[in-house]
């Protein structure tokens, strides 16, 4: 079965490579072919990941399964070492699912609805390049979660950057260039520091094998080396996550990115940072983690509070969701900072939940932005539930899920993270973590506050006339002005369309599933967490 892992990387890569071949068909036929191609390639990849999930041995989730281990560059000691265990499986499935849903969103039907970037447009919006970029992005994301070699992990970690840069810089909103530059400079600085940390680990232990390193639990590295390596590696992952003082690239990137870009950025790219903490930073460098955990926790809770307060101050819907990610990732980091199995499970659960919920939120926010030509809340006016009932209710659902209502996926991650902070690992100061817990609890209240405030502004209340739309459309830039103007003229917008529903319903279903039956996920992560932490 180990061929599946290679196929998982090979299918999108081959799909992207095929697009490089010059085609002679006319534009219309090519457009249709392209849509089928995108759907098919991402669909096959998703199917492969489902096959993996079906073939996975759940009784032994801690073991690395389907492993492939080939020498690639002996001179660098770099091995093409892939494998899957209980913490990477959910992330791989999440990645392929979200990519597939993005393609569904882009390609479904005649592809001329709002947000469907593949529609032909004057001046050329380069659909072929978009499909190519997204497929390469998928290779990088899947590879990051599969790699079991430090350098291979780093290579895949970097593969993601250039495609994401182009997604923001080419298909983004008005200030896209600056946002894309900010995104890539931040993440690159993080990666450079990360690389130094990884090389330091390598220089000290002489191996790049993540499994062996995790098993060694830091043997062979002195405490001071571990602390330095943890700081370097941690900064690299913290930029990606993003952790509080290093988050400033995130709101700009999210606001300017097109819908599919935001979805993948929030849904998967941020997870690469937290996955790095779970897979490399903490298991490989336990002493470093123990020394740095209080700081990590402090930054995490600052992030929670800061993110919530920033959300309260936002006027732009997409920007607000971006800041809410900072808060939610704060909970994930707090879970890691406890260094207990409970906290770890919470972090991994929160990771997946955030991927599902925020992806849905960005899909919906994108849909709103496409319809209104803006995502500034005062301009949107209220009363969405009466004007666009389905869209409004989906937005309400996603927000409620995100603020952590029990019974939906968002709840468990936050609750377990706070529970973990109640009883941190031995050696960590309990009063400090209790303080963290209290502040984090305050954060959940603030989270609820800003989401409800947003809902009261956008979905409830009296709708204002859409006479602003033409003006806003002119400002909006990225959207097709004629379409919005037409919608405004009729004073009627299309409610949720079939392709949107097709892309969103699976997310809604999974949010409900994991909310009602969290064990489905915890069963997978728990054995791995115990192995990684060396806990009984």
């Amino acid at each position: 079965m180990s061929w599946v892992l290679i196929a998982l990387l090979g299918v999108p890569l081959a799909g992207a490579a095929v697009l490089l071949a010059p085609s002679r068909t006319d534009a219309v036929a090519r457009g249709r072919l392209l849509r089928v191609h995108g759907l098919a390639v991402s669909g096959v990849t998703f199917a492969l990941s489902v096959v993996l999930a079906a073939g996975f041995d759940y009784g032994d989730a801690a073991r690395v399964q389907f492993s492939t281990d080939l020498a690639w560059i002996p001179g660098l000691d770099l091995r093409f070492h892939l494998g899957l265990d209980g913490i990477s499986l959910p992330l791989v499935v999440l990645t392929t699912l979200l990519t597939f849903l993005c393609f569904v969103y882009l390609c479904w039907g005649s592809a001329d609805g709002p947000g469907q970037l593949l529609r032909p447009k004057a001046g050329g919006n380069r659909p072929r390049a978009l499909v190519f970029t997204l497929l390469i992005l998928e290779v990088g994301m899947i590879g990051t979660f599969l790699a079991l070699d430090l350098l291979l992990f780093f290579v895949f970690f970097e593969v993601v950057l250039i495609p994401m840069y182009f997604v923001i810089a080419i298909w983004g909103g008005r200030a896209r260039r600056a946002a894309a530059i900010k995104f890539i400079l931040y993440t690159l600085l993080g990666s450079a520091v990360l690389l130094l940390g990884l090389l330091l680990i390598w220089a000290q232990t002489g191996t790049l094998d993540m499994v062996a390193l995790a098993r060694a639990q830091g043997a062979g590295m002195s405490r001071s080396v571990q602390i330095i390596a943890f700081i370097a590696v941690g900064i690299g992952f913290a930029v990606k996550t993003p952790m509080w003082p290093l988050h400033t690239w995130l709101p700009d990137a999210h606001t300017e990115a097109p819908t599919v870009g935001s979805v993948l950025l929030a849904g998967v790219l941020l997870k690469m940072g937290t996955y790095g903490f779970a897979r490399i930073a903490i298991p490989v460098l336990p002493d470093g983690a123990a020394a740095a955990a209080p700081w990590l926790g402090a930054f995490a809770v600052i992030g929670i509070i800061y993110g919530s307060l920033a959300c309260l101050a936002q006027r732009d819907l997409k920007r607000m969701i971006a800041y809410s990610s900072v808060g939610h990732m704060g909970f994930v980091l707090l879970g890691f900072a406890t260094l207990t199995p409970v906290g770890f499970n919470a972090a991994l659960f929160g990771n997946i939940a955030h991927g599902l919920i925020t992806a849905l939120l960005f899909f919906i926010a994108g849909a709103i932005k496409e319809r209104h030509g803006t995502s500034v809340m005062p301009a949107l006016g209220g009363g969405m539930l009466s004007r666009l009932p389905h869209l409004g209710s989906l937005l309400t659902f996603a927000c409620i899920a995100s603020l952590g209502l029990p019974g939906l996926a968002g709840f468990w991650g936050e609750m377990l993270a706070l529970l973990g902070a109640f009883e941190p690992a031995a050696g960590l100061s309990r009063p400090l973590y209790l303080t963290f817990m209290v502040i984090g609890g305050l954060g959940t209240v603030l989270t609820a506050a800003y989401f409800l405030l947003m809902l009261s502004r956008v979905t409830h209340g009296r709708g204002i006339k859409t006479i602003h739309a033409p003006v806003l459309a002119a400002v909006g830039g990225g959207t097709d002005p004629s379409r919005v103007a037409m919608g405004a003229g009729n004073a009627r917008m299309r409610d949720v369309t079939s392709y949107e529903l097709a892309a969103w319903v699976p997310l809604v279903g999974l949010i409900l599933l994991f909310g009602l039956w969290p064990k489905a996920l915890l069963l997978l992560t728990d054995p791995v967490v115990h192995t990684l932490l060396g806990a009984p």
């Binding site: 560059i73 250039i162 530059i181 520091v193 690389l195 130094l196």
Partner: protein, 552 residues
């Protein structure tokens, strides 16, 4: 005394030299017709390819290194101090040691890798020259003659194992380049560049000669390994016999033991030699000439300067520092570290503000010099291979970038970064190739060649404990990435639709049909190599000298 010469060892050199003569004669005697230009290009290409073939065959050969121009046996002993060659050899062979005669010309892995690099890059430069010369205002025979002489120097230099041969080879690399730069007659920029290059090069040679003469004065020999041996005086002969192959620790301890015995003049010599080479490789603070010279020179010459000339400079630097001055590591290692840090930082900062494509490449190649130097600034044994590996990766990427720049410069003579807007739509192959080279230089996937090159260097630095240097380099990588990516993005953004610009483009495209093919082949060659390096960087890492450079 009859000197026996191993003609196989010097065959690449001979081929290049003979081809150079042949080109000059053909140019003089063939009628002045357009086809002569192509014929001369063909002859040159054949010569360089032949030399490369010999180098490859030498590399395939198993067995020890080829040595020639050795001191004959009869002159080895202390009594034989009459002959010219032996007068330089004042040290009698140490008793008990297999008294290998010192040789001036050695073909080992180190030599082969540098010679192969120079010749492969030479092929690309010849192809680019064919494109450049097709416009017809540059004398063809002289151009190819000078180019071949320069390549001969670049092949001879890494094989040199004595100071005199080293200097002669280095001058052979440098001198033709002034003339090549100035060959574009009636071009003010070009002449200015040539004068600048000439002055800088002559000054640096003078400085280096002074350093070399001090070295010769203190040690009394010109052979690199003998110099090393004398500088290591006081160490038991058994260790000295191992020559510089021992680890850093050994070198440090030996330098500590003997430092009080050596006159301070050795330190001065080390610094002077270093300064001389710093000019050649455009390291800070001797970098200022790079921008103007690269921009003023014809683009093939700029490519030559940035790859072949720089590789030769590094070969010489590594030879002198590692073989001859290995025991002085305590003096030069920190110095190199500081120079490396400054070079990468200054080069990147200057490159960041450039609007002109060639100037940007000029400053960025200064920055890349810093990365190549960095491993030498931490330690001196394994670090050498990291430097060489980076140099090989860098050569493939940079010469490819120059090849595309050459192609574009034929359309828009301004050659500013904004002229690259929408290149991928007008010429997809060239646009994608340039984007790939730039991403490689930046060191990001999919340009894995650059990424692995950086990883090799980082590993050496981290391994050697140069934490601060690693951090400086990490920050620099990010700065470098900013301007490389900004350029790469221009390639993909549609060109602004201004009628003047479009007309200019089409007119230029029509006029530049001639010489399009060789430039295209050059780009394809560089791209194939860069892609191969990206997929299997092992190719380069396997080539690296397994053990230390064979002393003369």
């Amino acid at each position: 005394m009859i000197q026996s010469i191993d003609y196989y060892a010097v065959a690449p050199l001979l081929i290049l030299a003979l081809t150079a003569g042949l080109v000059l004669i053909l140019d003089a005697f063939l009628p002045h017709r357009p086809y002569v230009r192509r014929a001369l290009g063909g002859v040159t290409l054949a010569g360089v390819t032949g030399a490369l073939a010999v180098v490859v065959s030498q590399a395939m050969r198993t067995g020890g290194p080829l040595k020639t121009f050795c001191v004959p046996d009869g002159l080895l002993g202390p009594s034989g101090g009459a002959g010219g060659g032996a007068a330089l050899l004042t040290v009698p062979p140490v008793a008990g040691q297999a008294a290998a005669a010192p040789c001036s010309f050695v073909v080992d892995d180190f030599t082969l890798i540098f010679a192969g690099l120079a010749l492969a890059a030479g092929i690309v430069v010849v192809l680019l020259s064919a494109a450049e010369l097709s416009s017809g205002d540059i004398p063809v025979g002289e151009w190819y003659f000078l180019l071949l002489c320069m390549l001969a120097g670049a092949v001879a230099l890494p094989a040199s194992r004595d100071l005199i041969m080293l200097l002669v080879a280095l001058e052979l690399v440098s001198l033709p380049v002034f003339a090549l730069t100035a060959l574009k007659r009636y071009d003010g920029r070009s002449s200015e560049a040539a004068v600048k290059l000439f002055l800088v090069s002559v000054v640096s040679t003078a400085v280096m000669l002074f350093g070399v003469s001090l070295l010769y004065g203190t040690t009394g020999t010109v052979y690199l390994d003998r110099i090393a041996q004398i500088l290591r005086e006081g160490v038991p002969p058994s260790i000295a016999g191992l020559s510089p192959g021992q680890g850093v620790a050994g070198v440090y301890s030996s330098s500590l033991e003997i430092s009080h015995d050596l006159p301070a003049v050795v330190t001065a010599a080390v610094v002077l030699v270093l300064a001389g080479f710093a000019f050649k490789i455009a390291a800070v603070p001797f970098h200022a000439w790079a921008g103007d010279v690269y921009q003023g020179a014809p683009i093939p010459v700029a490519a030559l300067l940035s790859v072949i000339s720089k590789a030769a400079g590094f070969a010489g630097l590594i030879l002198i520092l590692v073989i001859a001055l290995g025991s002085q590591a305590a003096t030069w290692v920190p110095l190199i570290a500081i120079i490396a840090a400054l070079t990468m930082t200054v080069g990147n900062l200057l490159a960041m503000r450039q609007r002109h494509a060639v100037r940007l490449l000029a400053w960025s190649s200064v920055a890349q010099s810093g990365y190549i130097l960095a491993p030498l600034g931490v330690r001196n044994d394994a670090a050498m291979s990291a430097s060489i590996a980076y140099l090989v990766f860098y050569a493939a990427m940079n010469i490819g970038a120059f090849a595309v720049v050459m192609l574009v410069s034929r359309r828009s003579s301004r050659n500013e970064l904004d002229d690259y807007r929408g290149l991928v739509f007008q010429n997809p192959a060239a646009g994608l190739a340039l984007a790939f080279f730039l991403i490689c230089l930046a060191g990001l996937p999919p340009g894995l060649a650059g990424l692995f090159a950086k990883i090799v260097v980082f590993r050496e630095i981290v391994d050697g404990g140069g934490g601060w240097l690693a951090v400086v380099m990490a920050v620099n990588t990010v700065i470098g990435l900013y301007y490389y990516v900004a350029w790469a993005v221009r390639i993909f953004t549609p060109a602004p639709v201004t009628t003047g610009g479009v007309m200019d483009m089409t007119a230029g495209a029509g006029g530049s049909r001639t010489g399009w093919v060789p430039a295209g082949v050059a780009i394809a060659l560089a791209a194939i190599i860069a892609v191969a390096f990206s997929i299997a960087p092992q190719i380069v890492l396997d080539l690296l000298p397994a053990e230390f450079i064979t002393p003369g």
